[in-house]
Symmetry: C2
Subunit: 409 residues, 2 copies
């Protein structure tokens, strides 16, 4: 008998019919002889509805009261799912975040889990119950309700799996697994049977959107075996684990891309020691998220700094910079909008110095101009014209043979 | 500086506009220099919506999971009301039942409050905050979420007022106070400026519907000064207190009535010691609520027992009785449907033995046949034909001069 944590997201529990379907999926696992802890999100659009109620009250609701409000969403789902399991003759019990022993730091709307006290869930499992836990929420030492921020339910599931020493953690979602790239864009995109934590982290951060980076990080730290699979379709998902064994250690495992990128260049800044620091501290203070950063020293006195942002933040970013012109002492701001970011990810890159070159050549062969580059040990990101994004993705998918399964024997 | 507990029901917080209006009412009290604790119910129809979700899952949801589900309703309201108060520049904080220290017995869907730990609310009041508490809910010693059953938010408000030694407890509702009888039926119905706990209890039990009997009982036990008033209209309400002083001690203070009553007669039961007990235990086991009970011994061997129920339970009641015919040994069941109950209530009756006679004579003078009678120290209830209910109520309202204020000097 094993112990499995299963997480179902908002779409999977979007209405009563789907909740009943989730109950059946859970019961299948129980019938396999496993103990099951289920983590659920709020039903489909219910979080949006709660947010809109708050906005009707005030433009600036306090974070504490938003947590109070939003945490009701998962509480509704756990009650309904537990009823559905009981209606099918199974012993089940629902637990809110605070009941389940999920202790977080004292910080609203984006709290981190500090401790998971596993006695309550452990006792219920021992007494033969299926335990249904509200995702996305916890409680501080002083009894304040907190929420975990975006992707919080994924993090809850991984934390419970770690703290209960579960055999695996299944993340049920509306896709059938992690793909080499977005199958809606590239027809030959292929579902991966496994991927390493680090690769998944890069893909998650690059906007692949299947799993929240914090959950992957947590899973990596506690070596929780994660599986991403579909709640709708009966199909093997993608395993996320330390050592990717079943497939040949592909140099490039996946391709991520993102449109609506804008490149901003701050030109002619004095080449001072605190120039970079001043610039990005100013942007961070104004909540502007910067992605790729490139510095180009022009001469001993001046420097150009370029960075990429989401296009929707362009006006705001320029305003922030202009407001701080005196302090930052730049001469000019240039911006290039209508761009896209295309990245290749794979842990095999570490030992393959030629991968970046191979990527640039493939793009150049298609006449695609690379406007920015950023690299990590296991990824290379390029910024190109948005109009060429799909062509670039298709080219690279083929170049690195992502459409072909290579199984090691 | 005083301390006031204010309770706003579901209609008063039915939408965002009304919640903002409630915030203004609360702020008025704060501006008078009082500390305020606010108790709120779930928004308007939200409880019904949650119940209907549960019914879509299963016909028989467990009580524990219903409590888990329904308690989210008030949690939404406390967050929104707190946001509204903060938006108007006031320090406020929301607390769920468990955060507010409302400890109940270990019983779902209809738990009684056992203990109220007032430290948390006390500390927040001391730090100058308006405290917003979720009504209708509490927590057991072992951390289970419970609800208090019908009228639960009234009970929460009274319990907080008692435990915080509040100067008064205002119950804001959709009527302007307690009336001599239903003003929608009797034009000359008059709002009472005060009424005693016992009178209110009889009226509440008789279906006057303004305040839940449990809340009144609680208020009586802890001598909490209650006021019932309108959340919409600025107008003095009705004071509920031990000694009614401002008005002459009226013999009859109010009139309650209820339609859709059915009288059932179980005829020819053997006149055994356990006959009554068997009959009503059987009905109670089947959740059939019986109101007035009359026993008529026919001869030394047989007895007829009559009782009244809500007409909607007729078919079910007859079925239960028929299913137990062998055990109960009756000969025949008769029923008389289309009846109504009309009651007079007043603590002055205790010392006025002629009141019941005066009531019967007034009804007889109008040709109204009384089919059942039941009395307590401070009320007389009669069951009559529903077609004559309004005439009876109008007649009695006039007979006991309820339309006239008698102020003692």
């Amino acid at each position: 008998m094993g112990l499995v944590v299963q997480k179902f997201g908002g779409t999977s529990v979007g209405n009563v019919e789907r909740i009943k379907h989730v109950a059946s999926r859970v019961i299948e696992t129980v019938k396999n002889g496993d103990q099951v802890v289920v983590v659920v999100s709020a039903m489909g659009k219910s979080t949006d509805e709660l947010v809109s109620l708050a906005k009707d009250i005030t433009e600036n609701p306090s974070k504490r009261e938003m947590d109070m409000l939003l945490s009701t969403g998962e509480q509704v789902t756990i009650a309904l799912l537990t009823m559905a399991l009981q209606a099918q003759g199974h012993e089940a019990i629902s637990l809110t975040g605070w009941q389940a022993g999920i202790k977080t730091e004292d910080c609203h709307s984006n709290a981190r889990i500090q401790k998971f006290e596993n006695e309550t869930i452990g006792n219920h499992l021992d007494s033969g119950k299926i335990v249904i836990v509200a995702g996305f929420q916890g409680v501080t030492e002083s009894g304040e309700i907190t929420t975990l921020g975006r992707g919080g339910s994924d993090t809850t599931a991984v934390a419970l799996a770690a703290g209960l020493k579960a055999d695996r953690c299944d993340i049920f979602t509306d896709v059938t697994g992690v793909f080499t790239t977005d199958p809606r864009v590239v027809k030959s995109a292929r579902k991966l049977s496994s991927i390493s934590y680090d690769e998944m982290l890069e893909l998650a951060n690059l906007g692949a959107g299947v799993l929240h980076p914090r959950a992957v990080e947590f899973a990596k730290n506690y070596q929780v075996k994660l599986t991403v699979r579909s709640s709708m379709v009966e199909e093997e998902g993608t395993m996320i684990e330390e050592e990717v064994s079943m497939e040949e250690n592909l140099v490039v495992r996946g391709l991520a891309f993102e449109s609506n990128v804008t490149k901003i260049s701050v030109c002619g800044m004095p080449n001072q020691i605190c120039g970079l620091s001043n610039l990005f501290t100013t942007l961070a203070t104004n909540n502007i998220n910067v992605d790729i950063i490139i510095q180009n020293v022009i001469d001993s006195e001046n420097t150009n700094i370029s960075f990429s942002i989401l296009s929707e933040r362009l006006a705001e970013t320029v305003e922030v910079l202009e407001n701080n012109r005196e302090e930052l002492k730049f001469q000019e701001i240039l911006h290039d909008t209508g761009l896209a970011k295309v990245s290749i990810v794979g842990s095999g890159m570490i030992s393959n110095p030629g991968v970046a070159g191979q990527m640039f050549k493939a793009l150049a062969d298609q006449g695609i101009l690379v406007k920015m580059v950023s690299t990590s040990e296991i990824k290379v990101s390029t910024v190109i014209d948005q109009s060429e994004m799909v062509k670039a993705v298709e080219t690279l998918h083929q170049e690195f043979q992502l459409d072909k399964v290579k199984v090691s024997v």
